[in-house]
């Protein structure tokens, strides 16, 4: 059985190799899952490079944070699932491999539908739900929500989840060509980043008609964070959940001191119980299965092509139009 193994921190082609592992066996309480599709994230690259804050592994380890597959083997005492059931793998299970054994209780059930789309439920889906339902919980119907990196998979989910709650979204992107695409997803306004926080803030103000902006999501960092801060009203909150630029979040003193803008880091450790999390996954999975939430897929790759996949993941903008999905069993 093939798997992508990481042996150290460094550039992907130096520190990761495709290895042959023995077939997994389900111990008591475990199931063996054959992976249909595993989503690749920017974080996967950061884990491989060993960026600051992403260095908590012992080696060797198998890469891949999320995925979906079919149960092929049941360990003793497993009653939740039967052979052939479709499940989501737990976060961080090491999904860039053909098959793996995991505790049955940690696997949320998965619906029928496009495996490539469903492979994004656990991380991007949950992130979008936490941002919209928890961090933006004070927004009411008709209120505006601001976000940058709006064309990311998570950003696209946010547009839809907010729209379903009657919340309007003002979306910042880098490319003109995305405007129509995101509007088709129910984005209320889409503007192109100017690179100047003051100018972008003016643009945001004009497209939202000067409506109150109390919260903005930032997955860009650097001046992306500063721009969100500039756009927000007094007492606004910037929620940072990524750093596509690879740089630090920047917040200007004028926004902190005069507007009391606040920056919070997003935490996945939401206050949801295990059952509540399951309910969220079920809702998300149903929406994805029905096509209500839809990610853009840049390419799919097999494990044999994984170095090409990692190189593709490292590109941005027009060079990677969507998510990279690994199909470990072809």
């Amino acid at each position: 059985m093939k798997a992508l193994q990481q042996n150290a921190y460094g550039s992907p082609s130096d520190v990761t190799t495709l290895v042959e592992l023995p077939e997994p066996v389900a111990k008591a309480g475990e199931v063996v899952v054959e992976v249909e599709a595993a989503a690749m994230h920017l974080a996967d690259l950061k884990f491989i490079h060993g960026d600051p804050g992403f260095r908590y592994f012992t080696f060797p380890r198998i890469c891949g944070h999320e995925g979906i597959g079919y149960v092929t083997q049941l360990g003793e005492g497993v009653s939740e699932y039967k052979i052939g059931d479709r499940v989501f793998l737990p976060i961080g299970a090491g999904t860039f491999r053909q098959r793996l054994a995991v505790p049955a209780a940690d696997c949320p059930p998965a619906p029928a539908g496009d495996a490539k789309q469903l492979a994004l439920t656990v991380i991007n889906g949950m992130t979008a739900v936490i941002l919209v339902d928890d961090y933006a919980r004070n927004l009411k119907r008709g209120d505006w929500l601001l976000q940058n990196g709006a064309n990311s998979s998570c950003g696209r989910y946010i547009i839809k989840l907010a729209h379903d709650k009657g919340i309007k979204t003002c979306n910042i992107v880098r490319r003109e060509s995305l405007i129509a695409e995101l509007k088709a997803l129910d984005a209320d306004q889409v503007i192109v980043e100017t690179g100047d926080p003051d100018k972008t803030a003016e643009l945001v103000k004009s497209v939202t008609g000067g409506a109150a902006l109390s919260i903005g999501f930032d997955c860009v960092a650097a001046t992306g964070t500063e721009t969100i801060g500039r756009c927000l009203d007094k007492d606004g909150t910037i929620v940072n959940y990524g750093y596509m630029t690879g740089k630090n979040c920047e917040v200007a003193f004028q926004d902190l001191f005069r507007k009391h803008v606040k920056l919070v880091g997003m935490s996945m450790q939401s206050n949801r119980t295990k059952d509540e999390r399951k309910a969220v996954y079920a809702k998300l999975a149903a929406m994805i299965a029905d096509g209500d939430l839809k990610a853009k897929i840049a390419a799919t790759y097999t494990l044999d092509q994984i170095q090409t996949a990692l190189a593709h993941q490292a590109r941005t903008g027009d060079d990677r139009q969507g998510k990279i999905i690994i199909l470990p069993n072809g």
């Binding site: 940072n240 926004d255 005069r258 920056l263 919070v264 996945m268």
Partner: protein, 332 residues
Amino acid sequence: MRALHHIGYGDPAQVVKLVTLPDPVPGPGEIVIRMEAAAIHIADIKNFTGVREGGEKALPRIPGYEGIGRITAVGPNVSQFKVGDRVFPWWGAGTFAELVCTTAEKALPAPEGDAVQLSLMLVNGMTAVILLEDFRPLKAGDWLVQNGANSNCGRYLIVLAKERGIRTCNIVRRPEVVDELKALGADAVIFDSDDPIEFAKRVRLATHDAPVTLGLDMIAGAASGRMARCVSDGGIVVNYGFMSGQPSQIPFHDMFQKDITFVGMSAGRGMAKRNMAQLRDTYAKLAAMIAKGQLHAAIAGTYTLDHAADAFGHAAKTGAERDGKVILLPNG
């Protein structure tokens, strides 16, 4: 009377002029104060240079946020004070002048004691109180961490925290201030490091791995990120200055999953949460502590209005070149 006039934006030596104006005459509800001492703050310098974006003022104006003096004239309908009383004018009265005419209603009674020390109460004293009280409730024995700990606000904070039993981990840049801050009651004084990992290690060692849920940052730039690094999960970092002149920079991984909040502080907002009676009560306590020497500022230099340009030049310096606050003595 003589007063300073702020006439444009740029080098303080060029944009602040010494002028002679008619002596003010108090109107109804007003008092005239003969200023003994007026503190210069970094915000004054930034007002002159125009760095405080969005904060442009109508010019010309008499600058000066705070000070202390004695009443020389009272207008009609003033019952709170009489000629000869010592008072603090309220915030922003324009204190870089021999005489200040201001509303009696908001002026605060001042105790006897060192005018130079008392001239720092209004801004730094209230800032320290708000930082301690408004962002994270701390109990006796809890730790906070602050950078710029040798600033006057930092020094007040050490003493006010100590009074409440709150422990302070203080970040400084110079070895010669360590003993001074410890003498004020600082529980730990450590040196800054540009390396966030080393920095966090120093804080952990100093606080014996205790949770640190409040970080106070007056430097901004990368220093904001180092504060985010060393506060515990769920902690808050409060920024109240930008000595570095840089925007606050916080690494993603110090925010993400740690549930850290980074927030700005302004005294105006903290004061808006308190009613006038509460503010007066806080100021009475602060004034008494300063008069008794319990809160004590380091003074780098005192200057008359004739030497205001030198005073502003001095106030703009940092580190060993300005060992404390710079104070104007408008009447010499």
